[in-house]
Symmetry: none
Subunit: 159 residues, 2 copies
DNA sequence: AATGTTGTGGGGAAAGGTGGGGAAGTCAGA
DNA sequence: TCTGACTTCCCCACCTTTCCCCACAACATT
């Protein structure tokens, strides 16, 4: 029915002076041979980057082609500033300087799976802070959330 | 299913006094041996140039042949003012003077992949400005765009 | 501890980008 | 046919970037 998620989880890595960072083992193990070693890195909202398996990126572009607002799609495509990146011999990717600066990754990057389709690259400190904040907010409702999640297939008709 | 994209990404290069510019490594690595070293350079809208792999250009011409308005197709073909260009020993192409002037490339050129099929050649400053402008304009919708973009099929029915 | 895998950093070879000199070819005008 | 201006296309030379390889640190498993 639903296609399987490609990625689950999150992982940290360092970014060295040359702009390289390891592609975490955690996610590497979740790749299939057909995925190859090519990825596409793009700008994303909120000072994040987004990393697609190449094949997934092309699907994404195909979807973009089908938007009814073609001008908007074009604008969107332009703002992504996609870059093709490839794993080196040590399973690292080379991050372009401008993207490191945009997402402020020089002091560390956190890879976060997003809806099983692709990965977000966050500034590690900012990600931790965000998680802490969200957790704090959700903690209060946690029991209810868990309860709802199990029953009724996640239909959110509480409220 | 869909054919793979030929090009992904974007890259800058300088144009020297003789009108030469390097064909960026980034894109050269994305060529297949069958692509050869021949390209076709044409005028394009908005003071840009367009660079086709020769094979891709011929496909494009075939499409033109099928336009119902044959006179219009002929006009279009003429307006393109196509030039066959070839990589020299240093992987550079020689840009004709009139095209450098048309697209204002003397101070630098940016190669941008367009829909995976061919490359656009922009004046670098103008490209950067355009991207910056689009980003600024799209910023408000950007979060929503990104959100919608990752949902299956791009169905925008979450209102 | 011993071992193996992964993450991290750096040195150095190789490749790429850039600019210029200069030989051969083209062309217009005398 | 000659000449001079210009173009095209080699070649070389320099510097920067990229990438390959090695070494070690950080961990986890045994």
């Amino acid at each position: 029915m639903n296609e399987l998620k490609r990625f689950i989880g999150h992982a940290k890595a360092a970014v060295d002076g040359k702009g390289r960072c390891a592609f975490p083992r955690e996610f590497r193990c979740q790749l299939t041979p057909e995925d190859g070693t090519e990825f596409v890195l793009t700008y994303w909202a909120e000072n994040k980057l987004r990393l697609f398996v190449r094949r997934e990126y092309e699907k994404f572009m195909d979807e973009l082609d089908q938007w009814s607002d073609r001008k908007l799609a074009e604008q969107f495509r332009l703002t992504l500033r996609s870059t093709l990146v490839e794993l080196d011999g040590q399973n690292r990717i080379l991050l372009p300087k401008d993207k490191i600066q945009y997402a402020n990754l020089a002091n560390g990057v956190t890879f976060v799976e997003y809806r099983g389709k692709s990965l977000e690259l966050w500034n590690t400190d900012r990600y931790d802070a965000k998680v802490a904040a969200e957790v704090a907010e959700a903690q209060a409702k946690f029991d209810d959330l868990c309860f709802n999640a199990v029953f009724a297939g996640g239909s959110n008709d509480q409220k």
